[in-house]
């Protein structure tokens, strides 16, 4: 039997790992990073870019660079989250005429469902994993937020299927974290799992009994993440610099770029 890959399909970034000698190993992408930005872009020349390359060209091609697609996974058009998110993204989000769901429409008229976009990310992760292991990969386990409902879980499975993956399990993200910390080997207890991602913040309460986790409660802020923290640090630095030196750096793109990098590092 071939290897099974584990995938964290995130809102901002995604990760793929494989078991090696009883330990999970995170697989580096072809571009060298341990995480792959959850970004898909369609260039003017008809090329499809996924991950780091898509992110690098995003400001030159905002209308055809799709990010944060997870916010739309398995959601209905009239979902308040869809209505809120669709105005925050620079690509066009329309109601899918064939279902209650949504489609992402590009300038050339082509449109894609959220599972189709997610499948492109999964396909990239699968290719990276195949390059690493030297084997054909056909099975995967994918994590989803604990608050994902059946439709959203099914949409995630569909994305796997479109990417040619047999999704063996869908695991709750907080459960996966708890397992990774080996909490299943400890005594029965309640644990809180915090997950501060690039664009979302989740907290879940898990109850552990007989090696089985039960998600007792989950909540969070779907529009608060590390990126917001970076933005606040940049704003604070700008304000401090202006106060000390009387110079507004926000007009200088080079200074802004260096501030952004410094804030991300901090």
């Amino acid at each position: 039997m071939g290897k099974i890959i584990g995938i964290d399909l995130g809102t901002t970034n995604s990760v793929v790992a494989v078991m090696e000698g009883g330990e999970p190993t995170v697989i580096a992408s072809a571009e060298g990073g341990r995480t792959v930005p959850s970004v898909v872009a369609f260039t003017k020349t008809g090329e499809r870019l996924v991950g780091q390359l898509a992110k690098r060209q995003s400001i030159t091609n905002p209308a055809a660079t799709v990010y944060s697609i997870k916010r739309f996974m398995g959601r209905r058009w009239d979902d308040p989250e869809v209505q809120r998110s669709k105005d925050l993204v620079p690509y066009t989000v329309d109601k899918d005429p064939k279902s209650d769901g949504i489609r992402v429409t590009l300038a050339d008229g082509k449109s894609y469902t959220p599972p189709e976009i997610s499948a492109m990310i999964l396909q990239k992760l699968r290719t990276d994993a195949e390059a690493y292991t030297g084997e054909k990969i056909s099975d995967a386990v994918i994590t989803v937020p604990a608050y994902f409902d059946d439709t959203q879980r099914q949409a995630t499975k569909d994305a796997g299927r479109i990417a040619g993956l047999d999704v063996k399990r869908i695991i709750n993200e907080p459960t996966a974290s708890a397992l990774a910390y080996g909490l299943d080997k400890k005594k029965d207890e309640k644990v809180a799992v915090y997950d501060l991602g690039g664009g979302t913040f989740d907290i879940s309460i898990l109850e552990l009994g007989d090696g089985v986790f039960e998600v007792k409660a989950t909540n969070g802020d779907t529009h608060l993440g590390g990126d917001d923290f970076d933005q606040r640090v940049i704003e604070w630095l700008l304000a401090e610099f202006k106060k000390d030196q009387g110079i507004d750096l926000s007009k200088d793109p080079q200074a802004m770029q260096r501030l952004k990098e410094a804030a991300e590092k901090a």
Partner: protein, 215 residues
């Protein structure tokens, strides 16, 4: 004559006895040969099995050694790359410091020394296979460039890199760090913009002096 005859008879009897004895020996030998043949076949089979097993193990070991060697090289290479990538941050600062040098200091001999240090640094990067990525004037390519500014202009074709915010580097055939660039945008509204010198930004204060030249 009788004696002779008797003696012949005795001889024959002895010969017959010998023959009979030989026949017994023959059947015993045949049986032993059969046993030995069987043992030989077993031994040959065992030898063949051992040989096949040894060949498999040798092949496994050769594969393992090759993979271990590859992994070792990859790990070393990666560690080197990570170190070099970190060093680039210092290279950037050094470039900026030299580019922002007050003009009244430029003729000091001490500054000449600094340029020699800079050249040594470039030579070190060069010897590790680190080369800078050409950006300005090239068509934007996300494999080597990261767009940080998209500027409406009509003095450069759409999608052309018109400025470099931070230099990018390649290590051998891989991108160690993409160049952070400004990209021309000819889309709607751009034609209405006044003409301006878009190359000014790229050759601005942060463009490093490059005496050794590792482009």
């Amino acid at each position: 004559m009788n004696d002779e005859h008797r003696g012949r008879l005795r001889q024959r009897t002895r010969a017959e006895e010998r023959t009979a004895g030989l026949e017994v020996q023959l059947s015993a030998l045949t049986a032993e040969i059969e046993t030995l043949r069987g043992q030989l076949d077993d031994a040959r089979r065992e030898a063949a099995d051992n040989r096949a097993g040894w060949q498999r193990a040798a092949a496994d070991f050769a594969n393992y050694r090759r993979r271990a060697e590859q992994e070792r090289e990859a790990t070393l290479g990666l560690a080197n790359e990570m170190l070099l990538a970190k060093l680039l941050a210092v290279v950037d600062d050094f470039d900026r410091a030299l580019a922002a040098m007050p003009s009244e200091l430029e003729h000091l001999g001490w500054i000449e020394g600094l340029w020699l240090v800079e050249r040594k640094l470039r030579a070190l990067l060069d010897s590790e296979g680190v080369t800078s990525i050409e950006a300005v004037g090239k068509p934007f390519d996300p494999r080597e460039h990261e767009a940080v500014i998209h500027e409406q202009t009509r003095t450069a074709p759409d999608g052309q890199v018109i400025g470099e915010v931070q230099r990018g580097y390649r290590i051998r055939d891989r991108v160690l760090r993409p160049a952070l660039v400004k990209v021309a945008d000819n889309s709607e509204g751009a034609a209405g913009l006044p003409d301006k010198d878009t190359t000014e930004h790229g050759a601005g204060p942060s463009a490093p002096h490059d005496p050794g030249g590792i482009h």
